[in-house]
Protein backbone atom coordinates (compact mmCIF):
# COMPACT_ATOMS: atom_id res chain seq x y z
CA UNK A 1 0.00 0.00 0.00
CA UNK A 2 2.65 2.42 1.08
CA UNK A 3 4.71 1.34 -1.90
CA UNK A 4 1.82 2.32 -4.19
CA UNK A 5 1.47 5.68 -2.40
CA UNK A 6 5.19 6.24 -2.71
CA UNK A 7 5.02 5.43 -6.42
CA UNK A 8 2.08 7.78 -7.05
CA UNK A 9 3.71 10.59 -5.08
CA UNK A 10 6.93 10.02 -7.02
CA UNK A 11 4.96 10.18 -10.26
CA UNK A 12 3.39 13.47 -9.17
CA UNK A 13 6.82 14.85 -8.39
CA UNK A 14 8.52 13.89 -11.67
CA UNK A 15 6.86 16.59 -13.91
CA UNK A 16 8.84 19.21 -11.96
CA UNK A 17 12.09 17.52 -12.90
CA UNK A 18 11.27 17.61 -16.61
CA UNK A 19 12.99 20.80 -17.86
CA UNK A 20 10.84 23.56 -19.26
CA UNK A 21 9.57 22.87 -22.73
CA UNK A 22 10.31 19.18 -22.94
CA UNK A 23 7.12 17.26 -23.48
CA UNK A 24 6.67 13.90 -21.97
CA UNK A 25 4.23 12.92 -24.73
CA UNK A 26 4.70 11.53 -28.19
CA UNK A 27 7.01 13.29 -30.66
CA UNK A 28 5.58 16.42 -32.25
CA UNK A 29 5.40 15.87 -35.99
CA UNK A 30 4.99 19.50 -37.01
CA UNK A 31 8.05 21.64 -37.25
CA UNK A 32 8.50 25.36 -37.47
CA UNK A 33 11.00 26.98 -39.85
CA UNK A 34 13.56 28.81 -37.79
CA UNK A 35 15.97 31.49 -39.04
CA UNK A 36 18.23 32.49 -36.17
CA UNK A 37 20.60 35.08 -37.64
CA UNK A 38 23.28 37.39 -36.31
CA UNK A 39 24.85 40.15 -38.41
CA UNK A 40 28.11 38.22 -38.72
CA UNK A 41 26.82 34.66 -38.64
CA UNK A 42 23.69 32.79 -39.66
CA UNK A 43 23.13 30.10 -36.98
CA UNK A 44 19.95 28.69 -38.51
CA UNK A 45 18.61 29.50 -41.97
CA UNK A 46 15.08 28.19 -42.56
CA UNK A 47 15.79 25.07 -40.55
CA UNK A 48 12.97 22.80 -39.40
CA UNK A 49 12.92 22.66 -35.63
CA UNK A 50 10.47 21.33 -33.12
CA UNK A 51 10.50 24.05 -30.49
CA UNK A 52 12.25 27.28 -29.66
CA UNK A 53 12.33 28.78 -26.17
CA UNK A 54 13.08 32.48 -26.10
CA UNK A 55 13.57 35.07 -23.39
CA UNK A 56 11.08 37.72 -24.47
CA UNK A 57 10.75 41.05 -22.72
CA UNK A 58 7.31 40.00 -21.50
CA UNK A 59 8.63 36.71 -20.14
CA UNK A 60 9.99 33.36 -21.25
CA UNK A 61 8.02 31.68 -23.98
CA UNK A 62 8.16 28.49 -25.98
CA UNK A 63 7.27 28.59 -29.66
CA UNK A 64 5.96 25.50 -31.43
CA UNK A 65 4.78 24.92 -34.97
CA UNK A 66 1.84 27.02 -36.16
CA UNK A 67 2.21 29.51 -33.35
CA UNK A 68 0.02 32.60 -33.69
CA UNK A 69 1.92 35.40 -35.52
CA UNK A 70 3.57 37.69 -33.01
CA UNK A 71 6.43 40.10 -32.61
CA UNK A 72 8.48 39.89 -29.43
CA UNK A 73 11.45 41.98 -28.40
CA UNK A 74 14.12 39.85 -26.72
CA UNK A 75 15.78 40.67 -23.43
CA UNK A 76 19.31 39.44 -22.71
CA UNK A 77 18.75 35.76 -22.08
CA UNK A 78 18.88 32.23 -23.37
CA UNK A 79 17.44 31.03 -26.64
CA UNK A 80 17.05 27.26 -26.66
CA UNK A 81 16.45 25.39 -29.89
CA UNK A 82 15.06 21.85 -29.80
CA UNK A 83 15.52 20.37 -33.23
CA UNK A 84 14.22 16.87 -32.84
CA UNK A 85 14.00 14.42 -30.01
CA UNK A 86 15.60 15.69 -26.85
CA UNK A 87 18.67 17.31 -28.36
CA UNK A 88 18.65 21.00 -27.57
CA UNK A 89 21.17 23.76 -28.07
CA UNK A 90 21.37 26.95 -26.07
CA UNK A 91 22.72 30.36 -26.91
CA UNK A 92 22.91 33.45 -24.79
CA UNK A 93 21.46 36.31 -26.83
CA UNK A 94 22.22 39.97 -26.17
CA UNK A 95 18.97 41.28 -27.61
CA UNK A 96 16.95 41.56 -30.77
CA UNK A 97 13.51 40.63 -32.09
CA UNK A 98 11.74 37.33 -32.56
CA UNK A 99 8.91 37.33 -35.09
CA UNK A 100 6.52 34.48 -35.78
CA UNK A 101 5.10 34.90 -39.27
CA UNK A 102 1.72 33.68 -40.54
CA UNK A 103 3.39 31.07 -42.77
CA UNK A 104 4.83 29.04 -39.87
CA UNK A 105 8.19 30.81 -39.96
CA UNK A 106 10.10 32.13 -36.99
CA UNK A 107 12.79 34.72 -37.60
CA UNK A 108 15.05 35.80 -34.76
CA UNK A 109 17.31 38.74 -35.54
CA UNK A 110 19.81 39.00 -32.69
CA UNK A 111 22.68 41.43 -32.46
CA UNK A 112 25.01 39.01 -30.67
CA UNK A 113 24.71 35.45 -29.46
CA UNK A 114 27.12 32.80 -28.27
CA UNK A 115 26.88 29.31 -26.73
CA UNK A 116 27.09 29.36 -22.94
CA UNK A 117 30.42 27.52 -22.96
CA UNK A 118 32.04 30.44 -24.75
CA UNK A 119 31.76 32.77 -21.75
CA UNK A 120 34.32 33.06 -18.99
CA UNK A 121 32.94 33.67 -15.49
CA UNK A 122 35.98 35.80 -14.65
CA UNK A 123 35.37 38.22 -17.47
CA UNK A 124 31.67 38.46 -16.60
CA UNK A 125 32.50 39.31 -12.96
CA UNK A 126 34.97 42.00 -13.96
CA UNK A 127 32.63 43.62 -16.46
CA UNK A 128 29.70 43.41 -14.06
CA UNK A 129 31.73 45.21 -11.40
CA UNK A 130 32.73 47.86 -13.92
CA UNK A 131 29.11 48.44 -14.96
CA UNK A 132 28.06 48.72 -11.31
CA UNK A 133 30.80 51.25 -10.71
CA UNK A 134 29.71 53.47 -13.58
CA UNK A 135 26.04 53.27 -12.61
CA UNK A 136 26.84 54.43 -9.11
CA UNK A 137 29.47 56.93 -10.21
CA UNK A 138 29.11 60.47 -11.49
CA UNK A 139 29.30 60.29 -15.25
CA UNK A 140 26.79 61.81 -17.65
CA UNK A 141 23.19 60.58 -17.78
CA UNK A 142 23.92 58.91 -21.11
CA UNK A 143 26.92 57.02 -19.70
CA UNK A 144 24.85 55.93 -16.71
CA UNK A 145 22.02 54.75 -18.95
CA UNK A 146 24.45 52.72 -21.03
CA UNK A 147 25.96 51.26 -17.86
CA UNK A 148 22.49 50.32 -16.59
CA UNK A 149 21.82 48.41 -19.81
CA UNK A 150 25.20 46.70 -19.48
CA UNK A 151 24.41 45.87 -15.86
CA UNK A 152 21.13 44.20 -16.83
CA UNK A 153 22.96 42.26 -19.52
CA UNK A 154 25.80 41.04 -17.29
CA UNK A 155 23.46 40.05 -14.49
CA UNK A 156 21.40 37.96 -16.90
CA UNK A 157 24.55 36.46 -18.38
CA UNK A 158 25.98 35.61 -14.98
CA UNK A 159 22.73 33.95 -13.97
CA UNK A 160 22.57 31.98 -17.22
CA UNK A 161 26.15 30.75 -17.02
CA UNK A 162 25.81 29.88 -13.34
CA UNK A 163 22.64 27.83 -13.82
CA UNK A 164 23.91 25.96 -16.88
Amino acid sequence: MSALRLLSSAARRTPKSIPLGRRGYAEVADKIKLSLVLPHQAIFTSADVTQVNIAAATGDMGILANHVPSIEPLRPGIVEVIESGNASKKWFVSGGFATVHPNNKLTINAVEAAPLEAFSAEAIRTNLAEAQRITAGNGTEEQKAEARIELEFYEALQHAVATK
Binding site: V37, P39, H40, P69, I71, H101, N109
Partner: protein, 293 residues
Protein backbone atom coordinates in the same frame (compact mmCIF):
# COMPACT_ATOMS: atom_id res chain seq x y z
CA UNK B 1 70.42 95.89 -97.17
CA UNK B 2 69.95 95.11 -93.54
CA UNK B 3 66.60 93.55 -94.28
CA UNK B 4 67.94 91.31 -97.07
CA UNK B 5 70.79 90.14 -94.85
CA UNK B 6 68.47 89.30 -92.02
CA UNK B 7 66.18 87.61 -94.48
CA UNK B 8 69.09 85.61 -95.87
CA UNK B 9 70.24 84.74 -92.38
CA UNK B 10 66.96 83.26 -91.25
CA UNK B 11 66.78 80.35 -93.72
CA UNK B 12 70.43 79.58 -92.94
CA UNK B 13 69.59 79.43 -89.30
CA UNK B 14 66.74 77.12 -90.07
CA UNK B 15 68.99 74.83 -92.07
CA UNK B 16 71.53 74.85 -89.27
CA UNK B 17 68.87 74.16 -86.72
CA UNK B 18 67.72 71.27 -88.90
CA UNK B 19 70.82 69.07 -88.53
CA UNK B 20 71.72 69.13 -84.83
CA UNK B 21 68.14 68.96 -83.39
CA UNK B 22 67.49 65.93 -85.61
CA UNK B 23 69.64 63.97 -83.26
CA UNK B 24 68.61 66.29 -80.46
CA UNK B 25 64.96 65.57 -81.25
CA UNK B 26 65.63 61.87 -81.18
CA UNK B 27 67.47 62.27 -77.90
CA UNK B 28 64.63 64.36 -76.51
CA UNK B 29 62.15 61.77 -77.71
CA UNK B 30 64.29 59.00 -76.28
CA UNK B 31 64.57 60.81 -72.96
CA UNK B 32 60.80 61.37 -72.96
CA UNK B 33 60.16 57.74 -73.79
CA UNK B 34 62.46 56.62 -71.04
CA UNK B 35 60.63 58.79 -68.53
CA UNK B 36 57.26 57.55 -69.72
CA UNK B 37 58.42 53.95 -69.50
CA UNK B 38 59.63 54.44 -65.95
CA UNK B 39 56.38 56.06 -64.85
CA UNK B 40 54.18 53.44 -66.52
CA UNK B 41 56.25 50.69 -64.87
CA UNK B 42 55.66 52.34 -61.49
CA UNK B 43 51.96 52.61 -62.21
CA UNK B 44 51.83 48.95 -63.12
CA UNK B 45 53.45 48.04 -59.80
CA UNK B 46 50.93 50.16 -57.92
CA UNK B 47 47.88 48.80 -59.71
CA UNK B 48 49.12 45.22 -59.31
CA UNK B 49 49.53 45.64 -55.58
CA UNK B 50 46.14 47.33 -55.28
CA UNK B 51 44.66 44.36 -57.09
CA UNK B 52 46.32 41.96 -54.62
CA UNK B 53 45.01 43.92 -51.66
CA UNK B 54 41.52 44.02 -53.12
CA UNK B 55 41.60 40.25 -53.76
CA UNK B 56 42.48 39.44 -50.17
CA UNK B 57 39.89 41.92 -48.88
CA UNK B 58 37.32 40.39 -51.23
CA UNK B 59 37.60 36.95 -49.65
CA UNK B 60 36.79 38.44 -46.25
CA UNK B 61 34.07 40.67 -47.68
CA UNK B 62 32.35 37.75 -49.38
CA UNK B 63 32.25 35.75 -46.15
CA UNK B 64 30.66 38.70 -44.37
CA UNK B 65 28.29 39.07 -47.31
CA UNK B 66 26.93 35.54 -46.90
CA UNK B 67 25.89 36.05 -43.29
CA UNK B 68 24.86 39.66 -43.84
CA UNK B 69 22.58 38.62 -46.67
CA UNK B 70 20.86 35.99 -44.53
CA UNK B 71 20.45 38.59 -41.82
CA UNK B 72 18.81 40.95 -44.28
CA UNK B 73 16.54 38.21 -45.65
CA UNK B 74 15.31 37.30 -42.17
CA UNK B 75 14.69 40.97 -41.48
CA UNK B 76 12.80 41.44 -44.75
CA UNK B 77 10.38 38.61 -43.97
CA UNK B 78 8.25 40.95 -41.89
CA UNK B 79 8.04 43.52 -44.67
CA UNK B 80 7.14 40.88 -47.23
CA UNK B 81 4.09 40.05 -45.15
CA UNK B 82 3.10 43.64 -44.41
CA UNK B 83 3.24 45.52 -47.71
CA UNK B 84 1.24 48.73 -47.35
CA UNK B 85 -1.83 49.36 -49.46
CA UNK B 86 -1.24 52.84 -50.83
CA UNK B 87 1.90 53.59 -52.74
CA UNK B 88 3.19 57.02 -53.63
CA UNK B 89 3.97 58.17 -50.14
CA UNK B 90 6.86 60.36 -49.09
CA UNK B 91 10.10 58.45 -49.40
CA UNK B 92 13.45 59.08 -47.85
CA UNK B 93 16.37 57.86 -49.96
CA UNK B 94 19.52 56.62 -48.24
CA UNK B 95 22.41 56.23 -50.68
CA UNK B 96 25.18 53.82 -49.67
CA UNK B 97 28.57 54.31 -51.28
CA UNK B 98 32.02 55.04 -49.89
CA UNK B 99 34.82 57.58 -49.71
CA UNK B 100 37.43 55.86 -51.86
CA UNK B 101 37.65 55.78 -55.64
CA UNK B 102 39.45 53.61 -58.20
CA UNK B 103 36.61 51.09 -58.13
CA UNK B 104 35.09 51.30 -61.59
CA UNK B 105 31.53 52.56 -61.90
CA UNK B 106 30.37 51.80 -58.36
CA UNK B 107 29.62 55.31 -57.17
CA UNK B 108 28.12 56.55 -60.43
CA UNK B 109 25.91 53.44 -60.66
CA UNK B 110 24.30 54.12 -57.30
CA UNK B 111 24.11 57.88 -57.93
CA UNK B 112 22.40 57.38 -61.29
CA UNK B 113 19.88 54.98 -59.81
CA UNK B 114 19.14 57.46 -57.01
CA UNK B 115 18.65 60.34 -59.46
CA UNK B 116 16.20 58.25 -61.48
CA UNK B 117 14.34 57.05 -58.38
CA UNK B 118 14.06 60.56 -56.93
CA UNK B 119 12.73 61.90 -60.20
CA UNK B 120 10.15 59.12 -60.36
CA UNK B 121 9.01 59.30 -56.75
CA UNK B 122 8.99 62.99 -55.86
CA UNK B 123 11.59 65.52 -56.97
CA UNK B 124 11.55 67.00 -53.46
CA UNK B 125 12.32 63.74 -51.62
CA UNK B 126 15.00 64.08 -48.98
CA UNK B 127 18.20 62.18 -49.70
CA UNK B 128 20.79 61.07 -47.16
CA UNK B 129 24.19 60.02 -48.45
CA UNK B 130 26.81 57.73 -46.96
CA UNK B 131 30.16 58.24 -48.66
CA UNK B 132 31.96 61.25 -50.08
CA UNK B 133 32.10 60.05 -53.69
CA UNK B 134 28.34 59.85 -54.16
CA UNK B 135 27.97 63.06 -52.21
CA UNK B 136 30.16 64.84 -54.76
CA UNK B 137 28.20 63.41 -57.67
CA UNK B 138 24.75 64.03 -56.25
CA UNK B 139 25.54 67.53 -55.03
CA UNK B 140 26.11 68.41 -58.65
CA UNK B 141 22.72 67.13 -59.80
CA UNK B 142 20.27 67.32 -56.85
CA UNK B 143 21.94 69.50 -54.22
CA UNK B 144 18.68 70.80 -52.78
CA UNK B 145 17.47 67.32 -51.74
CA UNK B 146 20.49 66.36 -49.67
CA UNK B 147 19.51 66.24 -46.02
CA UNK B 148 22.39 64.48 -44.28
CA UNK B 149 25.75 62.99 -45.26
CA UNK B 150 28.02 60.46 -43.59
CA UNK B 151 31.64 59.60 -44.23
CA UNK B 152 34.39 57.33 -42.85
CA UNK B 153 32.12 54.34 -43.36
CA UNK B 154 33.17 51.56 -45.70
CA UNK B 155 36.90 51.59 -45.04
CA UNK B 156 36.72 48.04 -43.80
CA UNK B 157 33.95 45.44 -43.49
CA UNK B 158 30.91 47.32 -42.13
CA UNK B 159 29.82 46.34 -38.63
CA UNK B 160 26.39 46.37 -37.09
CA UNK B 161 27.57 49.28 -34.95
CA UNK B 162 28.07 51.38 -38.11
CA UNK B 163 24.59 50.55 -39.37
CA UNK B 164 23.07 51.25 -35.95
CA UNK B 165 24.83 54.63 -35.75
CA UNK B 166 23.56 55.63 -39.19
CA UNK B 167 20.02 54.50 -38.34
CA UNK B 168 20.14 56.44 -35.10
CA UNK B 169 21.19 59.66 -36.85
CA UNK B 170 18.51 59.18 -39.50
CA UNK B 171 15.84 58.98 -36.82
CA UNK B 172 17.23 61.92 -34.90
CA UNK B 173 17.35 64.08 -38.03
CA UNK B 174 13.61 64.70 -37.98
CA UNK B 175 13.08 64.41 -41.73
CA UNK B 176 9.51 63.69 -42.81
CA UNK B 177 8.90 60.42 -44.66
CA UNK B 178 6.62 57.41 -44.75
CA UNK B 179 9.11 54.86 -45.94
CA UNK B 180 12.85 54.63 -46.39
CA UNK B 181 14.44 53.39 -49.62
CA UNK B 182 18.04 52.22 -49.29
CA UNK B 183 20.00 52.44 -52.56
CA UNK B 184 23.08 50.22 -52.73
CA UNK B 185 25.06 48.07 -55.14
CA UNK B 186 24.11 44.42 -55.29
CA UNK B 187 26.87 41.87 -55.77
CA UNK B 188 25.69 39.96 -58.85
CA UNK B 189 28.82 38.01 -59.83
CA UNK B 190 32.61 38.20 -59.83
CA UNK B 191 32.38 40.35 -62.95
CA UNK B 192 29.37 42.56 -62.33
CA UNK B 193 27.22 44.46 -59.88
CA UNK B 194 23.98 46.38 -60.23
CA UNK B 195 22.25 49.12 -58.33
CA UNK B 196 19.38 47.85 -56.21
CA UNK B 197 17.15 49.04 -53.40
CA UNK B 198 15.56 47.86 -50.17
CA UNK B 199 12.40 49.52 -48.87
CA UNK B 200 11.86 49.75 -45.12
CA UNK B 201 8.56 50.82 -43.55
CA UNK B 202 8.38 53.33 -40.75
CA UNK B 203 6.37 53.00 -37.58
CA UNK B 204 3.25 54.73 -38.95
CA UNK B 205 3.11 52.92 -42.25
CA UNK B 206 3.70 49.58 -40.52
CA UNK B 207 0.77 50.17 -38.18
CA UNK B 208 -1.50 50.96 -41.11
CA UNK B 209 -0.42 48.00 -43.24
CA UNK B 210 -3.18 45.35 -43.39
CA UNK B 211 -0.85 42.39 -42.89
CA UNK B 212 0.52 43.91 -39.72
CA UNK B 213 -2.74 43.47 -37.82
CA UNK B 214 -2.24 39.71 -37.93
CA UNK B 215 0.72 39.95 -35.54
CA UNK B 216 0.26 40.00 -31.79
CA UNK B 217 2.48 42.34 -29.89
CA UNK B 218 2.72 44.88 -27.12
CA UNK B 219 1.89 48.45 -28.17
CA UNK B 220 5.23 50.07 -27.60
CA UNK B 221 7.08 47.47 -29.67
CA UNK B 222 6.39 49.02 -33.10
CA UNK B 223 8.75 51.97 -32.72
CA UNK B 224 11.64 49.80 -31.51
CA UNK B 225 10.85 47.29 -34.24
CA UNK B 226 10.99 49.90 -37.00
CA UNK B 227 14.29 51.28 -35.72
CA UNK B 228 15.82 47.82 -35.38
CA UNK B 229 14.55 46.82 -38.83
CA UNK B 230 16.12 49.90 -40.39
CA UNK B 231 19.47 49.16 -38.74
CA UNK B 232 19.27 45.55 -39.96
CA UNK B 233 18.46 46.56 -43.54
CA UNK B 234 21.22 49.17 -43.52
CA UNK B 235 23.70 46.58 -42.27
CA UNK B 236 22.78 44.05 -44.96
CA UNK B 237 22.99 46.71 -47.69
CA UNK B 238 26.29 48.12 -46.37
CA UNK B 239 27.91 44.68 -46.34
CA UNK B 240 26.70 43.84 -49.84
CA UNK B 241 27.75 47.25 -51.16
CA UNK B 242 31.19 46.81 -49.60
CA UNK B 243 31.62 43.42 -51.26
CA UNK B 244 30.49 44.80 -54.63
CA UNK B 245 32.90 47.71 -54.31
CA UNK B 246 35.89 45.54 -53.34
CA UNK B 247 35.15 43.26 -56.28
CA UNK B 248 34.84 46.20 -58.67
CA UNK B 249 38.10 47.63 -57.37
CA UNK B 250 39.85 44.33 -57.99
CA UNK B 251 38.51 44.17 -61.54
CA UNK B 252 39.39 47.81 -62.23
CA UNK B 253 42.95 47.39 -60.94
CA UNK B 254 43.26 44.16 -62.91
CA UNK B 255 42.36 45.84 -66.21
CA UNK B 256 44.54 48.84 -65.31
CA UNK B 257 47.49 46.49 -64.77
CA UNK B 258 46.79 44.78 -68.09
CA UNK B 259 46.62 48.12 -69.89
CA UNK B 260 49.81 49.26 -68.19
CA UNK B 261 51.70 46.13 -69.29
CA UNK B 262 50.40 46.61 -72.86
CA UNK B 263 51.62 50.19 -72.76
CA UNK B 264 54.99 49.08 -71.42
CA UNK B 265 55.36 46.66 -74.33
CA UNK B 266 54.51 49.34 -76.90
CA UNK B 267 56.71 51.98 -75.31
CA UNK B 268 59.60 49.53 -75.03
CA UNK B 269 59.33 48.78 -78.77
CA UNK B 270 59.25 52.48 -79.58
CA UNK B 271 62.22 53.14 -77.33
CA UNK B 272 64.29 50.38 -78.87
CA UNK B 273 63.49 51.52 -82.41
CA UNK B 274 64.33 55.09 -81.50
CA UNK B 275 67.60 54.05 -79.89
CA UNK B 276 68.59 51.96 -82.90
CA UNK B 277 67.62 54.81 -85.28
CA UNK B 278 69.81 57.32 -83.46
CA UNK B 279 72.74 54.87 -83.44
CA UNK B 280 72.24 54.30 -87.18
CA UNK B 281 72.13 58.06 -87.79
CA UNK B 282 75.36 58.58 -85.89
CA UNK B 283 77.03 55.80 -87.85
CA UNK B 284 75.80 57.31 -91.15
CA UNK B 285 77.24 60.69 -90.14
CA UNK B 286 80.57 59.14 -89.23
CA UNK B 287 80.78 57.07 -92.40
CA UNK B 288 79.77 59.87 -94.77
CA UNK B 289 82.17 62.14 -92.92
CA UNK B 290 84.92 59.54 -93.25
CA UNK B 291 84.16 58.88 -96.92
CA UNK B 292 84.17 62.64 -97.61
CA UNK B 293 87.77 62.89 -96.42
Amino acid sequence: MLARRTLARIPAQQVVSGAAPQNARNMATLRELELRLKSVRNIEKITKSMKMIASTRLAKAQRALQSGKQYGIANAELFANTTPEEVGKRKLFVVLSSDKGLCGGIHSSVSKATRAAVKEADPESPVMIVGDKSKAQLSRSIPQNIALTFNQIGRDIPTFADAAAVADLIFKSGAKYDSIVIMYNKFVSALSFEASSIEVQTETSLREAPGFQAYEMEDDVVKDLSEFALANALYAALVEGHAAETNARRNAMDSASKNASDMIGRLQMQFNRGRQASITNELVDIITGASAL
